[in-house]
Symmetry: C2
Subunit: 654 residues, 2 copies
């Protein structure tokens, strides 16, 4: 089993990721605070076309003030709005761990103080129910998100305690957990069901890792065990509420949507709401790791296999439909109506990393990397104040603007969303990117280098420096110091590179890959390890079962999936046809001035000319088209949608 | 201006269409009666995935009994359920015109008697409002369908009077119209708005044609003029109802959905609900024809152009989205999420034929033919008791079953639908197919032969016999007798035929096409005109603006669009790739035993082998696939979905 390094032990030297980490600190975090405090004059957009969705303001902090009795007013926004604040605090925590900042810490302290004031004496905390429906606490778990919010609170509390040593937020969180433990469990009289939206499971297991207290792991185990045990649990709650005169409705509860149709350990497929599914899987893996629950781990493996071999976009986006923000069937990966919520790709990263810690195979890191560099990074604008909820793989504004089935697809990132789960999730995830660079074993004798990022890792008894200009250059040097101890350095050799050559102190070393890593075991005295490789422009072919991608290729170079935007080309991107053979001659061109520095690709394409005969008709018999050679310019997918509304396509036509 | 022949003057000799006309009489009409009388033990399906839609029974006749006071009970079904009965009566009328049937006529008389009993003294008739909301009559026009139902009643009444000479139904209809005229109009105190669902406009204009009474045309003109004149009309009705305590809700009225955002004469685009749009356009054209309203006709032409050059599927299906059963934007023609309601293609036929009567150009008949042989004919099963609402161009059941965005797509025709507009619409339209074969001018000196169908036309002073085994054979003989009068025979030369040769009494005649027709003017003494041609297997290319059809071809032969079903091939139809060049060598094979006799096509395809490497992954770099040559079998699109659930594709991959 592997473990993470504390993020303040991993120092980024890399320009690519450093930009994001600093930008999150300098721009995203202050911006998000102001939005949550209703202090920004911005246009908040609905996450999908549904006028009943709240989108006038965030109100997240105001809700706490109202719950604390400091202000009068009504709760506004989603019932889970509190979690925005918690995720923001978690992002702040990582930022403070990386670079202390007194002013920011004071701001966070004030928020924590407010949260403490809002908490009830018995520990209960969720402003929506406190303000609006105090008699419904823990009684509408199919939608309430109470334990979901508690989970995010725990994650924030752990982060903040690590960052500052201050325990106020942790006390609040532990009080919430105590309250939950008092109400939930297999003991008679307690609630024997789980939150409709998973999150507390992974958070409780994290709390166990942080505190070492087994009671938290036990509670996590309970929530994973009780889920789906009685599939009628939620209906019974509803019935009881109606009986008690608390409510008067019979909502239809979709057990697949919330993965409660059977116990998680018996689940083998990724179904329903994608974020719930993958938060649950993350929790399952984390619990299985500590409880040695083989059945639970096997369920994780089956779910993992189902996602990555049947239900994942090339960008590591997941969730093929807006209806329930959900997984659909096998190989159903439409490029224009999909959902691919930023949070879902984030959840996939969490799941992948937990799986990797149990089973150190590169296949997990490959998916994690795919999500980090593509489906997650696309979730925010380059300048850090605009966010996607939905990350499409293809956008033709002239079409999707008039098609309600694509009403959830936006072409530019809004400043904020009515359901603002993604923006702070982006901040906390990319804001702690360091945790994914290296992993080590329990004994501290093996270090895994997962990603190519210029950085320095400090660990007890040594350090590891990774020197590289990747992705601009294909040369990575490692400088490992362990005071002469035996230690193993494992370097992941990604599938997207070609002709890797490994040198130790300039002497070529044979590369035997084990589970996708090359292994160097020796007494280290500061030897230089050097890896040199090529990053060809790759044609990606999708599984022939994926109907949406037939006769098409995607282009990848290094970890980056590429896309074409019409701003760099002509409109009607569908009229460009790329022969995979032409990729060998693609021009690779680093552009420091575009989109904060990207590597563009220029590929020769057959460009179909739309002649005048087509103005009159939709269909022609035995038509022979005219083709001209034209260069197609491609940019990394994550950077799309930053230069005004235009067409964008990942899967190019052959 | 052209006019139709009475359908009992056109005698079908053709096996293809005769089968349908007889089947509608012998099977469809009796079956539909029993369904409407709740006397069939069938599974009625919802037209789309929405559990609030009524689907337990039809109840259409029972609703009349309840309204008539003959039975106790509640109205059940859609508020426009009455129109099912009217459309059925219209289908019966045409059947009786073609072949009298005492028993059927008695059944129809009994239904007419019932309708008469349900009608109120003042003429008002719509069972939903009579039974459920008598105080809301004509007060909720945005959804009420009261004038829509009246329109269908008029059409049935005209048909039944023509068929039987009996005037009872006509009296009922005229009484309804009188009631409407009393309540609607520009005079003070009258309602100055139109029904949310168009239909009365085209029906009133037809009533004018039938009765010669200008007041009906004037009322039609009023409804086309008043629509959209005050875009707030419907909201004002709602407001007034709320004020008067009749209702207490504020529905959001989408004026584009019901084409009331501006006056029809100012409309230039096909927007909103497709059936409403095209019923309105049909009414506009019919009114413009009689009122010589140039502006209205120009609007029709613009709408027509918008539909056929930007918004129509190759099957003549229209309505690209389930959301509002509506048109979307230009060139947005997805093959798997579309709607393509049978009624919408029927409406397109009506519109096309009205336009042709004003402007006798083959382009209108081409679209009409495309709809008849494809998008409309697919609306019913071969045996005539199962009906599609939605006519997709591509179905992969394994995908669409799990994708809620395709929840409205069915793979087999249900017996009936909760909203049963399509089944009787199919019966009345295909059951009077004769009306489309020939058209003549006002003076009775020009006869247009629009379609190749073995048939005999009687007209005052002569007859025209068309002898052909088309579509089985490509040879058509015309035998025109006019007692030696000058007369012009115009024969449409479709775009899908090749190398046509025309002979009069065996002597070749040069063919000069005028507006798509070849013209033969002479004193006819029974000369034989013969047309011989080829019907090559055609590769159809879609306009490059249609993203959904890039790198794909459709196949057409004669008027039939073809499709592949996996029952004739292997599953995963997306793995078949067809080079258009191979179509020259396609095998054309008439199969009398399959699907009531169809012409199959066999085309050589490159069949991609899905190797084992794909079990593990979704994406591969620089993948080289393996191809085998394989024959792909195609069937006419209209006949798909008759042999059990399987995949179906119209647009094949190149």
């Amino acid at each position: 089993m592997l473990r993470e390094f504390a993020i303040n032990k991993v120092h980024i030297k890399d320009t690519f990721w450093n930009y994001y980490v600093k930008n999150i600190k300098n721009k995203t975090i202050p911006f998000q605070y102001k939005v949550m405090d209703n202090d920004m004059d911005i246009n908040i957009e609905r996450e999908r076309e549904d006028e009943s969705l709240p989108a006038e303001k965030s109100n997240a902090l105001e809700n706490f003030r109202i719950a604390a009795g400091l202000k009068d007013g009504e709760h506004y926004g989603w019932f889970f709005q509190d979690s925005d604040v918690y995720k923001w605090l978690e992002a702040v925590s990582y930022s403070l761990q990386i670079s202390p900042d007194k002013e920011l810490e004071e701001l966070a302290d004030s928020v924590i103080d407010l949260i403490g004031k809002a908490q009830e004496k018995d520990g209960y905390l969720q402003t929506f129910f406190q303000v609006k429906f105090p008699n419904r606490k823990y009684r509408e778990l199919h939608y309430s998100h109470e334990l979901y919010c508690a989970g995010h609170l725990m994650e924030a509390a752990i982060g903040y305690t690590e960052a500052t040593g201050k325990r106020e937020l942790l006390q609040i969180a532990l009080k919430v957990v105590d309250n939950i433990a008092k109400h939930f469990g297999y003991e008679e009289g307690k609630i024997q069901g789980a939150d409709g939206h998973q999150e507390i499971e992974l958070a409780l297991a994290k709390l166990y890792e942080f505190t070492g207290k087994k009671k938290y792991l036990d509670l996590a185990v309970f929530f994973i065990d009780v889920r789906g045990k009685d599939p009628l649990f939620y209906d019974k709650q509803v019935e009881q509420n109606n009986k008690d005169g608390i409510t008067n409705d019979y909502p239809k509860i979709d057990l697949k949507y919330l993965q409660a149709y059977t116990q998680p350990k018996k689940q083998t497929k990724a179904v329903g709401h994608a974020v719930r599914m993958l938060y649950m899987a993350t929790g399952m893996a984390r619990i299985a790791k500590h409880s040695n629950d083989e059945q639970l781990f096997m369920a994780c493996k089956e779910i993992w296999r189902d996602v990555i071999s049947k239900k994942m976009y090339i960008t590591a986006g997941v969730g093929s439909t807006v209806h329930g923000e959900a997984f659909t069937g096998e190989y159903d990966l439409p490029n224009d109506t999909m959902y691919c919520e930023t949070c879902a790709s984030i959840a996939l990263i969490y799941f992948a990393y937990e799986m990797f810690k149990i089973e150190p195979k590169a296949e997990y890191i490959e998916i994690m990397e795919r999500a980090l560099y593509n489906g997650v990074l696309s979730g925010a604008s380059i300048e850090g104040k605009h966010f996607f909820y939905v990350n499409p793989l293809e956008v033709y504004p002239s079409i999707s603007k008039n098609n309600p089935g694509q009403g959830h697809v936006k072409y530019q990132r809004p400043n904020w969303l009515g359901c603002a789960c993604c923006p702070p999730n982006f901040a906390r995830t990319i804001g702690s990117i360091q945790r994914y660079f290296y992993t080590w074993d329990e004994e501290g004798q093996i270090i895994y280098s997962n990603l190519f990022v210029a950085s320095k890792l400090d660990f007890p008894g040594g350090s590891l420096e990774q020197m590289t200009e990747f992705p601009k250059q294909n040369r990575v040097k490692y400088h490992l110091k362990t005071d002469g101890q035996f230690a193993t350095l494992k370097i992941r050799i990604p599938q997207w590179l070609k002709n890797p050559l490994l040198y130790v102190e300039g002497i070529p070393v044979e590369m035997n890959l084990i589970d996708g890593y090359v292994e160097l075991k020796r007494k280290w005295n500061g030897e230089i390890v050097e890896l040199v490789f090529e990053t060809p422009v790759l044609a990606v072919t999708a599984n022939p079962n994926v109907v949406a991608d037939v006769n098409r290729i995607a282009i990848q170079r290094g970890p980056f999936v590429y896309c074409a935007e019409s701003i760099d080309n002509e409109e009607k991107l569908q009229t460009y046809h790329v022969n995979p053979k032409n990729l060998e001659r693609a021009k690779v061109c680093y552009q420091p001035g575009i989109l904060n520095g990207i590597t563009q690709l220029m590929v020769e394409a057959d460009h179909e000319l739309v002649d005048k005969s087509w103005q009159e008709t939709l269909y022609q018999f035995n038509f022979k088209g005219n083709i001209e050679k034209k260069e197609l310019t491609l940019i990394p997918y994550y950077s799309w949608g930053n230069r005004g509304e235009c067409e964008m396509v990942v899967w190019l036509y052959k």
